[in-house]
Symmetry: C2
Subunit: 230 residues, 2 copies
């Protein structure tokens, strides 16, 4: 599996907010126990129920975390970008099983650190734990917000909110680059691809947005858009 090019491992450690406060020597130490793994697009990193006690750090690419409901429907929980980590349950429990699925949605490279190694670093550098806690607290707030939105806001408002949180300003134009397919976006927003498509069409007819490519949407007037959703 892993190749032992230490240089890339340190890059991986340096990238992550939970480790990047350490000095070079300390990061090298941690990099020693990190194993790099590559995945191609659509490859699964793990599935629900897999036993696993490692921390995953995204080095390159993007990973989609999703779960399957009892009725078999997919729910995208979040998208991980370089520097994000997952598998934090492994930090605390001796026997831990994944409660979700993880899929590479592009060519992806990650670093894995086993719990038994991580435990040593947590004891030695307590700041790491603080930073992990900080990250998870943020994710909890996001997750709670997502729950509130899915159960109290109509689909259009959720789409607009999602767009407004992903805007990139660029030479006088406001663009959004969708980080995933509309199909996956639908499961993230708790709706269907058809409904997403219809809402986008409606927003376009009303002159609020313009679809350029599948992944790129131009927003003509963000304020007007936000006003519509309230």
């Amino acid at each position: 599996m892993a190749n032992h090019n230490h240089h890339s491992h340190v890059d991986c450690i340096r990238l992550v907010p939970i480790f990047n406060h350490l000095n070079d020597e300390q990061m090298h130490l941690i990099a020693q126990s990190a194993h790099e793994v590559q995945y191609v697009k659509n490859e699964l990193l793990f599935r629900f129920g897999d036993k696993d006690d490692t921390l995953y750090i995204i080095n390159n690419g993007r990973v989609r975390i999703y779960s399957l409901s009892e009725s078999g429907r997919e729910q995208t929980i979040r998208i991980l970008h370089p520097g994000d980590f997952m598998g934090e349950v492994a930090i605390l429990q001796t026997e831990s099983y994944h409660s979700n699925y993880a899929e590479a949605i592009s060519e992806t490279s990650i670093c894995r650190i086993h719990k038994k190694n991580l435990d040593q670093y947590l004891d030695r550098y307590p700041e790491i734990m603080r930073r992990i806690l900080s990250d998870i607290t943020k994710r909890l707030q996001l997750s709670e917000k997502q729950t509130v939105q899915v159960s109290t806001e109509p689909v259009e408002a959720r789409i607009i909110d999602f767009l407004s949180e992903n805007v990139e300003d660029e030479k006088n134009h406001t663009y959004v680059t969708l980080p995933m397919s509309k199909k996956d976006l639908a499961t993230y927003l708790g709706t269907t691809p058809e409904t997403i498509s219809r809402k986008f069409s409606s927003l376009e007819e009303r002159g609020l947005i313009k679809r350029h490519t599948q992944k790129c949407v131009e927003i003509f007037d963000l304020d007007a858009l936000l006003f519509v959703s309230s």
Copy 2:
């Protein structure tokens, strides 16, 4: 505000999983910086936007955390019982503002510990941080599960799942004591009181449950109930 009956403070500390691994002397130390506060039913502990840097521990009673969506609808996020804590955002940030509302849904007494005191204990007893992280990780999993359910399962399945997670076996009968009003339950499950009422009626007609009082529901056949929802 607080009365300084140290005995009750220690009870409060002893109750809480994040502190109860400490010895008596250590718990007494922490109890010194805990302030007890009492609330009557329906009283607000804090509101969205309040600045606050304390950790809250529930000593007695129950507290409901909820948020208001932009359209003004309530979403119950969770119910806290004795031994639960909240305000963990305060642990990490110097300036922290509440992102939710907290309301006592019965006569409630809590202990508050200020961040500046807590920080000392976190440094001295790293195990506390581990336990807080453990608790928040569990809550994150619950929150993600709630999102999945709200957006992929029909209301009836959500109700049944909620009931099955709150069963109490008691002299050959299976009961559920609802921890909140149906009105609040509705906002927790992402629906309306009317729909909850109708679904309960339907389950009762089908001979699966029986409503005894507002808060107490008997379940005749849990397995049959779970089968229905799948």
